[in-house]
């Protein structure tokens, strides 16, 4: 087992190196001089100041040197300063906005799992019958509706027509309390959850169909246990391991996948900031958020993988 873990961690280090390099090189190659972004293009310019900024940003060094310097800074949590909002540390921005995005992703995953398990179990239990066909069709549709469309129609229904919830904005838990926060977070989380629900329930269904053919299910039936007890106590548990894996991976993916929903609902998370930065061409913010999200995703994937290895004896041995 330790060997497997060692290999995984080694691969993680290599992937991180590659991912950070790719993020760096992409933004380093952006057209347009960062100095222009800082000093503005118009008017006379102090060449001394320009040289000073160039030196400070290390713009005159060759790319590999710049990458190593940047990586060393990034490892210490220094991702630079925003060009547009001078004095705003990129890492501070991320620290401020991550809790919002993480909360959204977490709520979406919880809603998705709560909906997906019964739907998947029904599909497997009634495989091929109308209950299965109905839920499968619903899942197919849920997979095909992009989350921004779901979001717009949730806004239309609950904010515009029924006026139960606000259409956009975000109340921080710290400022306004849990309930006010819930009122602003439930719609975006639901919009995100729909696609996840579809993915999870398909997995639960196909896993469960395989599990239900095992001998121990037959023996449980022979003992006269009720179907419901067998489904949720005996069959669901072995199926939940792969569900746990995909839940972990998708949580990581959602940290970068909330961009559109955050923009739609005007939620001050990582994604909304990323879009602002792209529109303002605020290069270091784009770079910082991209690299942070990518690293988080890769690390979460590895952690999930390791958990899976540790938990499942069949994988541990091989």
């Amino acid at each position: 087992m330790w060997k497997v873990i060692g290999i995984r961690l080694g691969r993680l280090a290599l992937t991180l190196l590659a991912v950070t390099f790719l993020s760096f090189i992409m933004t380093a190659l952006l057209p347009g001089d960062p100095v222009n972004a800082i000093l503005g293009v118009d008017g006379p310019r102090d060449p001394e100041l320009e040289a000073e900024i160039r030196a400070e940003l290390g713009l005159d060094d060759p790319i590999p040197v710049r990458y190593v310097n940047w990586l060393a800074d990034a490892a210490r949590g220094d991702l630079g300063e925003s060009y547009i909002n001078r004095g705003q540390e990129v890492s501070a921005t991320i620290g401020q906005r991550l809790p919002v995005t993480a909360q959204l992703a977490f709520m979406a995953i919880v809603i998705a799992v709560v909906l997906a398990i019964p739907i998947g179990v029904i599909g497997a239990y009634r495989q091929g019958r109308w209950q299965d066909q109905a839920t499968s069709a619903g899942v197919q549709v849920a997979l095909s509706v992009p989350n921004f469309i779901t979001g717009i129609f949730l806004i239309w229904l609950f904010a515009v027509t029924l006026k139960w919830l606000p259409a956009s904005n975000w109340n921080r838990i710290g400022d306004k309390g849990l309930w006010e926060n819930f009122k602003t977070s439930i719609l975006p989380a639901t919009a995100l959850a729909l696609t996840q629900m579809a993915i999870f329930s398909r997995l639960v269904r196909s896993d469960m169909i395989a599990t239900l053919q095992e001998n121990y299910i037959l023996s449980a039936k022979a003992k006269g246990l009720s179907d419901r007890y067998i489904l949720f106590r005996h069959a669901l548990r072995p199926s939940s391991l792969s569900l746990a894996t995909i839940v972990g991976i998708n949580f990581g993916a959602l940290l970068g996948g909330t961009v559109i929903i955050e923009t739609l609902f005007a939620i001050p998370g990582l994604g909304f900031r990323l879009i602002n930065a792209i529109n303002q061409r605020d290069i270091l913010v784009i770079q910082g958020i991209t690299v942070f999200v990518a690293v988080a995703y890769v690390v979460i994937n590895t952690v999930v993988d390791l958990f899976y290895t540790v938990l499942d004896p069949r994988i541990r041995r091989s």
């Binding site: 992409m26 806004i155 923009t263 990323l274 990518a294």
Partner: protein, 330 residues
């Protein structure tokens, strides 16, 4: 949304390998080519319906694009960018259109907030989806399909290096990588968007193609070809690629559905084709501000997008099933 593609890859790869490595059935050597009539005849009704929708929507988009140039405006189609209430300097009068009109004989789906014909804008929006998904599929099938077939066949260091590179690209959350790449370009024309999405499609196709190539490369007929001294390049061309292609092509359909959602999301964020060019995503984004007074302007492009994606998924799933049956019968 980001992860559907990975789930898909896993599914496709798993399915094809499982089916392809099953016990081979005795055939007459060459798999039969089904005629067009047979292929359509086999389709369940929902797949037929989906295929019909795709023909309608993409055929309509192509026709609308070529209408004035090739057919001389044979059908009375509207100009998607014309503000129908505008002042016309030639006649000295204002147009008779109104913003946010309900559907009428003249404007089948009404008009948008600046009095443009919604039906025409949806028709032309289909062109953006068509081009982006077609370019992405072409990149994926040709580049990704070839690289995948190659590394699955030759193995060794080539495979390790190329797949490591592919894995790094797939290690990024797809949307964030796309946004970062799109932000590099100042001019976001249809071509630029299509090329960026096309480039980013390559890794997923490579994975799919490699999985099948690995399975095919271990089959008896490849061994036989090696034994009689066929050159590796010839084996790749005559044995591997023809057997990898059907699955990759059917994956292309499902991937196209994903690409249309991705382009829609970019358009929705205002980071895809620039206005006034219409795409379903930017129509939805523009119309959502008036959703309280005109729901139809949001519903119409949303339905166009969702039904197209659903149809591509249906047809793609169906072709995937056929492709894996075919692989099993090899």
């Amino acid at each position: 949304m980001t992860d559907t593609v990975e789930t898909r890859i896993a599914e496709v790869a798993h399915m094809s390998v499982a089916e392809a490595s099953g016990p081979p059935e005795v055939g007459d050597g060459k798999p039969k080519r089904a005629s067009f009539r047979e292929v359509v005849g086999d389709m369940p009704w929902i797949v037929k319906l989906s295929a019909a929708w795709l023909v309608l929507v993409f055929g309509g988009a192509i026709y609308a694009k070529l209408d004035t140039a090739v057919f001389g405006g044979a059908l009375p189609l509207q100009d998607p960018n014309l503000q129908t209430n505008n002042f016309n300097p030639d006649t000295g009068t204002f147009g008779d259109g109104e913003p946010i009109e309900p559907p009428s004989a003249q404007h089948w789906l009404g008009t948008d907030a600046i009095a443009r014909d919604t039906f025409a804008r949806i028709l032309h929006g289909g062109w953006v989806s068509l081009i982006v998904s077609a370019v992405a599929a072409a990149f994926g099938v040709i580049v990704g399909g070839f690289i995948g077939s190659l590394v699955g066949f030759v193995r060794g260091k080539t495979e390790t290096i190329i797949m490591a590179f592919i894995d790094v690209i797939l290690a990024f959350p797809a949307l964030v990588l796309l946004l970062a790449m799109v932000s590099i370009f100042q001019v976001r024309s249809l071509l630029v968007i299509a090329l960026v999405i096309g480039f980013l499609s390559i890794p997923a196709y490579t994975r799919v193609a490699r999985a099948i190539s690995l399975a095919v490369s271990n089959r008896e007929f490849v061994l036989a070809a090696r034994a009689i001294g066929t050159k590796p390049a010839t084996i790749l061309r005559r044995e591997i690629i023809p057997n990898v292609l059907p699955t990759v092509l059917s994956y292309a359909m499902v991937a196209a559905a994903f690409v249309i959602v991705v382009e829609g999301s970019l358009s929705f964020l205002g980071l895809s084709v620039q206005l006034p060019t219409s795409s379903w995503g930017n129509m939805i984004n523009q119309a959502r501000r008036d959703i309280d007074i005109n729901l139809l302007q949001v519903v119409a492009p949303s339905l166009a997008l969702v039904i197209t994606v659903l149809s591509l998924n249906q047809v793609g799933d169906w072709f995937q099933k056929r492709a894996s049956f075919r692989a099993a019968a090899l």
